[in-house]
Amino acid sequence: MQFTLVVYGAPHSAQGAGTALRFAKAVLASGHSIFRVFFYGDGIHNGSALATPPQDEQDLLRQWQALQQSHQLDLTVCIAAAQRRGVLSESEANRLERPAANLADGFTLAGLGQLAEATALSDRLVSFGG
């Protein structure tokens, strides 16, 4: 079965970000697949490359990236929500004339059409509140 996860929680701010990560691991461990993880609202901060939690706390970014690597996960950050809050890829920073880019490796900026598509095509959609 194909799951889509929608994440509204900012990392290290709302538990939802960490819960979504645990749920994603459980989905994969159960033999199901993940169509897409869509980061929306404050959840877009999960895609910031600059997060640096203390060494003795869980590092959500590295864990998402590891999961992305091992399972070729589609980690999509909503571009409109990210522009507002300041998470930009190289090309967006250039297009919008901003001084730096901070989208983490393994994440992709894309439009809300990706949420529409995932909602229409996955078997299950689970949202993780902020």
């Binding site: 159960s30 689970v126 509140g129």
Partner: protein, 93 residues
């Protein structure tokens, strides 16, 4: 049948009450994160009689004793619950 997921404490906001107002016969309820505070025996809201699940990791993390008539589950069982139900509705904040 719908799986409702609530992540907010019943003392902090209306998510659980709102969820229960939109609950239909045969639906299932899963309490996660701060939602597990509603799973104690003396919780402020009356829960449905059947199919109420509690994410044990979140209850354990908070030192919550889950009322005996509720079902504690792990993450893998959560995935199964999602497979068994549609749609899945999250009630947060």
């Amino acid at each position: 049948m719908t799986l409702h997921i609530v992540n907010q404490s019943p003392h902090a906001g209306s998510a659980l009450r709102d969820c229960l107002n939109a609950f239909a016969e045969g639906d299932a309820l899963l309490l996660i994160e701060d939602g597990v505070y509603a799973a104690q025996e003396k919780a402020p809201l009356e829960l449905p009689e059947n199919d109420v699940f509690v994410l044990s990791a979140d209850a354990e993390a908070r030192g919550i004793a889950i009322a005996p008539d509720l079902t504690a589950i792990d993450d893998l069982r959560w995935v199964t619950l999602c497979v068994e139900h549609t749609p899945i509705v999250s009630w947060f904040r």
